[in-house]
């Protein structure tokens, strides 16, 4: 392992030296962010190499307006809110699900659990708050299919599912972006396949390297990015061999296509992204919570002073936010990047504080 690390480090050093300017690598996914911190990778990188945490944490990219919709539904006496754990703590304009004591909020581990809840509580409507990228969407699709088959009338989905590629495109379309390359998430790539990144390379000329979450994968992924940047030879490379195929998981893709369609939904920090969010197709509209309750998604302002939006775009580091570590901590989160364990602010807080203080 030591040999591989040293080889990767030599590649990085050589690239930084040759380029003579900083290289900014965005790790798109929150799982990579956590792996980088947990394994202490940052201090081993050359000085000129900067890692930017991207919009890959589902809870973090969920727009404030969506959170407010969830809180609004939670106030209805005829609803049970079924959600993944982290969503419970994201603050909206009127507290969070955690502090809404009158609301019936259940933390579920899967879409299947949410459906079981609906079967057990026929007198209530279970709203499954479905967030996540291509990794969780197929499971939601299965649940909707199953609900349709069982004619489950009191189950619906509030979809905040997101797509990775449109987000990458939106980031690069911003002329202020400082991104030289992407470290692409292993698990999303298992579903969408590495070929999905080809348009990004062709359109924007940025390297896209797919890596797993083991520290060696991350280091070698970054080294491969450095090699490409230094040689000005961007391409899609997967070093997650044997796990990620070029075409991805066709079954999961077909499931998503059957039940969902992309639309121009809102993202925190990134605004409206063309084709970036998924909603249920018209044939399944009876399971769409937005349509069932006649709700419109209105983008809401972020909490005052919160810079999660900029952090998600790689335009600010967590500690550049005036509230980081002071008003905003994991116990008293102001923005979602401090709530989710995969959020950039939470990761900096948990693993990186001292190192920052010491420069």
């Amino acid at each position: 392992m030591l040999n591989r690390i040293m080889k990767a480090q030599r590649l990085m050093d050589a690239a930084c030296l040759r380029l003579g300017r900083p290289i900014n690598v965005m790790e798109v996914c929150g799982t990579h962010t956590v792996s980088i911190f947990r394994n202490g990778i940052r201090p081993t990188l050359p000085e000129g190499l900067k890692l930017l945490s991207g919009p890959g944490c589902p809870v973090c990219v969920t727009d404030q307006g969506f959170i407010d919709v969830v809180l609004e539904l939670a106030e209805r006496e005829d609803c049970i809110i079924a959600t993944y754990g982290d969503m419970v703590r994201v603050p909206g304009k009127s507290g969070s699900l955690e502090t809404k004591h009158e609301a019936d909020v259940r933390v579920v581990l899967s879409s299947e659990d949410a459906m079981t809840l609906a079967e057990r509580h026929p007198d209530k409507t279970v709203v499954f708050v479905a967030v996540g990228f291509e990794t969780t969407t197929p499971a939601t699709a299965v649940a909707v299919g199953e609900a349709a088959k069982r004619d489950l009338k009191n189950f619906c989905v509030l979809s905040g599912h997101k797509l990775v590629i449109p987000a990458m495109r939106a980031l690069l379309s911003d002329k202020n972006n400082q991104i030289d390359a992407f470290l692409c998430p292993g698990h999303v790539s298992v579903i969408i396949g590495s070929d999905a990144y080809i348009p990004i390379v062709e359109e924007f000329g940025r390297p896209c390297v797919v890596a797993g979450f083991e520290p060696m994968q991350v280091i070698e992924g970054i080294a491969e990015i450095c090699r490409q940047v230094a040689n000005d030879a961007p391409e899609v490379v997967s070093i997650y061999e044997g796990v990620v195929s070029r075409e991805g998981n066709k079954t999961a893709q077909a499931l998503m296509d059957t039940y969902f369609e992309p639309y121009d939904g809102f993202w925190r920090g990134l605004g409206r992204i063309p084709g970036g969010t998924l909603r249920l197709k018209e044939a399944y509209e009876q399971f769409d919570a937005m349509r069932r309750f006649g709700i419109e998604e209105i983008p809401a302002e972020e909490p005052q002073g919160c810079r999660c939006g900029e952090v998600l775009c790689g335009l600010a580091q967590p500690m550049e936010c005036g509230m980081f570590e002071t008003r905003c901590t994991p116990d008293t989160p102001v923005g979602p990047c401090m709530v989710s364990s995969e959020g950039a602010c939470a990761a900096w807080y948990k693993y990186g504080r001292r190192r920052r203080r010491n420069g």
Binding site: H101, L109, T332, S341, Y351
Partner: protein, 339 residues
């Protein structure tokens, strides 16, 4: 928001993290103000006549009640025995109080009592007092247990004795209890399921304290795991701590389950693991005593105590890939009802 948090108890108030710390410091301690309680030790030192007795209590609300490697009965005995053991005591006697939900199956109750009795026998303590309450359906989740215990002091252990250069030893692999419970709750199955390490530590701690010198301080790494204990030690002793990741004993299945669920093994609860801070000179002898004992076969030196480099003492870890990172106090909301 902040006001809302102050109005009612949240799960995080019982999670062993910062919110719980502030609840204890601002609501509980001032009302019972006394020097013994104020030390917040694993067990309180009380003089009974001329004898120094260590006294402690703990409540158990684990879910599920039965898990691989134990159940709430065994846990209730081991938990209190361990609080006494790590405080430097030989446990003598326990009380056991049951709060049972109406309708709870008698056969399950007997199973729980049997394993409590067996655990007490193994730890060499007697259960000498008890209480039984039944509450209406829905007022408790099956069964809750409280135990209290007393022991005689065999060593004077304190964070104040810790010095730079001391070694940090653990008696075996970390994260087993928490991961056994979590994987069971989340329905993750392995070919051979992860077993909780739930065990009474007093036979091991007594062997160490009676057979070696140089032990400064011990604490069992329960809620909040090794990360919590080491941070408590760093803050209490005002010394930095350096952990070496490659030295940390972790079972492969536990590591796999933790990775899958996004947990850091350092944050995960144990129920049969003790962190021992020992002088450099005695480290080898303590390690040998551990490894010779059934409860310490996988014991290892996992780090050392350093002079604090800053006002705030911290725990840092040298990682597998040659990097470094801070090991923070867990926030204590990740695993409710783990014990």
């Amino acid at each position: 928001m902040d006001e809302e948090r102050d109005k009612r108890i949240l799960l995080a108030h019982g999670g062993g993290g910062r919110l719980m710390g502030s609840l204890i410091a601002t609501k509980i301690l001032p009302r019972f103000a006394n020097a013994t309680l104020g030390q917040l030790a694993d067990a309180a030192a009380v003089k009974v006549g001329d004898t120094s007795v260590l006294f402690t209590t703990d409540s158990f609300v684990v879910k599920p009640l039965f898990f691989h490697g134990g159940d709430i009965g065994k846990l209730a005995v081991c938990g209190t025995v361990n609080d006494l053991a790590v405080a430097g005591a030989r446990p003598v006697a326990l009380s056991l109080a049951l709060i049972i939900e109406e309708g709870f199956e008698m056969a399950l109750l007997e199973k729980i009592l049997d394993s409590a009795a067996e655990a007490a026998r193994e730890a060499g303590v007697e259960i000498v007092a008890g209480d039984t309450k039944v509450v209406e359906r829905g007022a408790a989740d099956g069964i809750f247990i409280n135990t209290a215990g007393i022991g005689t002091r065999i060593a004077d252990l304190s964070m104040k004795h810790i010095e730079a250069g001391d070694a940090i030893i653990i008696n075996g692999a970390i994260g087993d209890h928490g991961m056994a419970i979590m994987s069971q709750r989340k329905g993750i199955e392995f070919d051979s399921p992860i077993q909780s390490d739930c065990a009474a530590l007093s036979p091991l701690t007594c062997a160490i304290l009676e057979g070696t010198d140089g032990v400064r301080f011990m604490r069992d790494a329960t809620r909040g795991g090794v990360a919590a204990v080491l941070n408590e030690i760093a803050a209490g002793a005002r010394h930095d701590i350096e952990l070496v990741e490659t030295q940390l004993p972790v079972n492969a299945a536990v590591q796999a389950a933790a990775d899958m669920l996004g947990f850091d093994v350092l944050d995960i609860a144990n129920e049969g693991k003790v962190i021992i801070v020992v002088s450099q000179a005695s480290a080898a002898a303590v390690l040998e005593t551990c490894r010779a004992h059934a409860l310490g076969r996988q014991a290892a030196v996992i780090g050392r105590v350093l002079e604090a480099a800053d006002d705030e003492a911290i725990v840092e870890m040298a990682t597998v890939i040659g990097g470094r990172r801070v090991v923070q106090m867990p926030y204590g909301r990740e695993l409710p009802r783990i014990c």
